[in-house]
């Protein structure tokens, strides 16, 4: 890696116990083997990148991690104890928050209403139990400012935010609600250069709070900019985990593409891929 980034990287070299450890996960859909033995773990305060080309099984794997799919085989340990998630809700309550590509945001609703969607703070009791709008607005403005976004007002509709800002709202929401593990599914794939760097900066901020980040991407540059460890998935299998500094972008790229073909292609395109 040529440029050293401005981010402080966590010293995630085995001194901390992993929050989530997934061992030999297999997932079959009928006669299709989507995952054929994937092992992966995340430690607090690190950014673990999961790389792979389309169809490598990244989405299936994180859906297993976030409780959407149940693994066919394999074990999941959460803070050292074996665990089974029956619903995404279980995983969420345990502290595994997923920011999906579609972000789970509603453009017509205000930032505050989106931020607290499904988990509204209330005040009063019984029939008078109501949505504490003032507190919600304050918290939302505050959390967004911490992430470096100045809203026009808490009633600003999410539809008026840029893609990067929406991504940040989704991340801020997950962090505020006590995520220990934050899974980001291709957070930078649809963003411009500027917005991408904002999101990467957000990831760095979140990591410094001691949250384990799982960053899914097929863009090696973005991954190398913030990642501490890199795991490459190919055709449903892990091709190994590398620590930051041990691996070059070219090597990662080759691993993702499964080796030779990519090298050939790169040659014919003059090394631009």
């Amino acid at each position: 890696m040529t440029e050293d980034t401005k981010f402080h990287h966590g010293d995630a070299t085995g001194d901390k116990a992993p929050i989530v450890q997934m061992k030999d996960i297999e997932k079959h859909f009928g006669n299709i083997i989507a995952l054929a033995g994937v092992s992966f773990d995340v430690r607090p305060g690190e950014c673990h990148c999961l790389l792979g080309d389309n169809g490598a099984g990244k989405s299936t794997f994180i859906k297993t991690m976030s409780g959407v799919h149940k693994p066919t085989k394999g074990e999941i340990f959460f803070e050292g104890k074996p665990l089974h998630f029956d619903t995404p809700r279980d995983a969420m309550e345990a502290g595994i928050a997923t920011v999906f590509q579609d972000l789970a945001m509603i453009p017509l609703m205000s930032v505050t209403r989106n931020f607290f969607m499904g988990r509204e703070p209330t005040k009063g009791r019984g029939l008078l139990k109501r949505f504490d709008v003032d507190q919600a607005n304050d918290v939302c403005m505050e959390e967004m400012r911490k992430m470096g976004i100045n809203l026009r007002g808490p009633d600003q509709a999410v539809g008026t935010l840029s893609g990067g800002e929406r991504q940040t709202v989704a991340i801020a929401r997950a962090v505020y609600f006590g995520a220990k593990i934050l899974i980001l599914d291709e957070p930078t794939s649809a963003l411009g250069v500027r917005q991408t760097s904002n999101v990467l900066a957000t990831i760095d901020r979140v990591r410094n709070q001691g949250i384990g980040v799982v960053f899914i991407s097929h863009n090696v540059r973005h991954a190398l900019a913030v990642g501490d460890r890199f795991t490459v998935l190919n055709r449903g299998k892990t091709l190994g985990t590398a620590t930051r500094g041990e691996i070059t972008p070219e090597e990662l790229q080759d691993l993702m593409a499964g080796g030779q073909e990519m090298a050939q292609l790169e040659g014919s395109l003059g090394g631009t891929v």
Binding site: L108, G118, R119, N150
Partner: protein, 368 residues
């Protein structure tokens, strides 16, 4: 909004003028509509339209429609439609009539039974929509015919061949609960106002307006409760979220299916309330009750700012939408225009409202 949250305001954000802020409210269109319609009738209609008696005159049909429109508006914000509410008025009217006349039950039993019955039908509607994943438009269109047909068949069974069930008034006349659902409220206040000469009286000294028709009070109360629920409770947030994007909402932990089924039940209960009020008022129930009300209710909700795609709208908007409706229906009788202009007027209002709402939505979401 607190001061602390405003602390580090962005210098690139211009202060929003009051008018722009107002423009973003979903009910603005309906409010503007009320003012326009008012000006129109103030010029063209007989001056008696805006006396107290005239106002009660157009507010009564507005309220009867409005109770339905509030339910329809909440359901639309929640992302679904109910085309069966008009038929539901007839069907729950039949059930209520049978309770009162055929089974001779007191109102304290008949009314809750009617609501439970309506809610059950609403739940069936909702569950079919949710479980099948079909558009609610089609499912409730089916129920529009099923319920209308069942009302006809049921009435014939209950009366031995007639499509009208009479005798409700005789049964409920002396029931202590009747004043809550029929007639006029605040009678003594109005009598006192008449005595002191504040309001107009007939020659014999009785006030021209004996009180406020109860449906108007129900209408106002339901509007206030619905607005409170939408804007100030978690359930309100869930309704907006379910209508805005049901996948996003359920990923965030909103019980989308429960919200939607509850809204179908609520809409059916609104229809039942209108049925109870109108049946007690007329003293009988018939199969044509509530005919085409589903369309009028949806029109009122849309004029009130609800988007057909869900996730946006307001109960106050539907309130004003219904008042526009009442003013136009009744107002034309005070003018020299042919009354049948009413339908033209209604269609034009709907079209203008939809165009307006579309523009507003683009502004709110920053679409360009």
């Amino acid at each position: 909004m607190s001061q602390s949250a405003q602390g580090a305001a962005d210098e690139r954000v211009k202060k929003e003028p009051f008018l722009t802020k107002l423009m973003k409210r979903p009910e603005l269109g309906a409010m503007a509509g009320v003012i326009l319609v008012f000006i129109f009738f103030a010029i063209t209609a007989d001056s008696s339209m805006f006396t107290l008696a005239g106002i009660m005159n157009f507010m009564t049909p507005a309220a009867q429609l409005g109770i339905l429109a509030i339910g329809a508006a909440l359901l639309m914000i929640g992302g679904e439609f109910d085309l069966s509410i008009g038929s539901m008025v007839a069907f729950s009217g039949l059930f209520f009539g049978v309770c009162v006349v055929t089974w001779q039950l007191p109102l304290i039993l008949s009314i809750p039974m009617t609501f439970v019955f309506a809610a059950a039908v609403g739940a069936i509607n909702g569950n079919i929509v949710i479980r099948s994943g079909l558009p609610s438009f089609i499912v409730t269109l089916a129920f529009l015919f099923i319920l209308r047909g069942l009302s006809l068949v049921g009435l014939k069974l209950a009366t031995g061949g007639s499509t009208q069930l009479r005798g409700v008034r005789d049964q409920v006349e002396n029931d202590w609960l009747a004043p809550v659902f029929s007639g006029e409220a605040f009678g003594s206040l109005f009598a006192w106002l008449a005595e002191t000469g504040v309001i107009a009286t007939f020659k014999n000294g009785a006030p021209k307006v004996p009180g406020i028709p109860v449906e108007i009070l129900w209408f106002v109360v339901i509007t206030l409760v619905a607005t409170y629920v939408l804007l100030r409770t978690p359930a309100g947030n869930w309704i907006f979220a379910s209508g805005g994007d049901k996948v996003a909402a359920s990923n965030s932990g909103v019980p989308v299916n429960r919200v939607k089924v509850s809204l179908f039940m609520l809409t059916a209960c609104c229809a039942a309330l209108v049925a109870i009020i109108t049946v007690m008022d007329a003293g009988s129930t018939d199969a044509r009750r509530g005919f085409q009300k589903e369309f009028e209710a949806i029109i009122a909700a849309v004029i009130g700012g609800c988007l057909l795609t869900g996730g946006y709208g307001s109960a106050i908007g539907a309130f004003f939408g219904s008042i526009i409706f009442g003013m136009v229906v009744i107002g034309l009788t005070y003018t020299d225009f042919d009354q049948d202009w009413f339908q033209v007027f209604l269609g034009a209002m709907l079209l203008i409202a939809v165009l307006f709402n579309n523009a507003i939505r683009k502004r709110v979401t920053g679409e360009r």
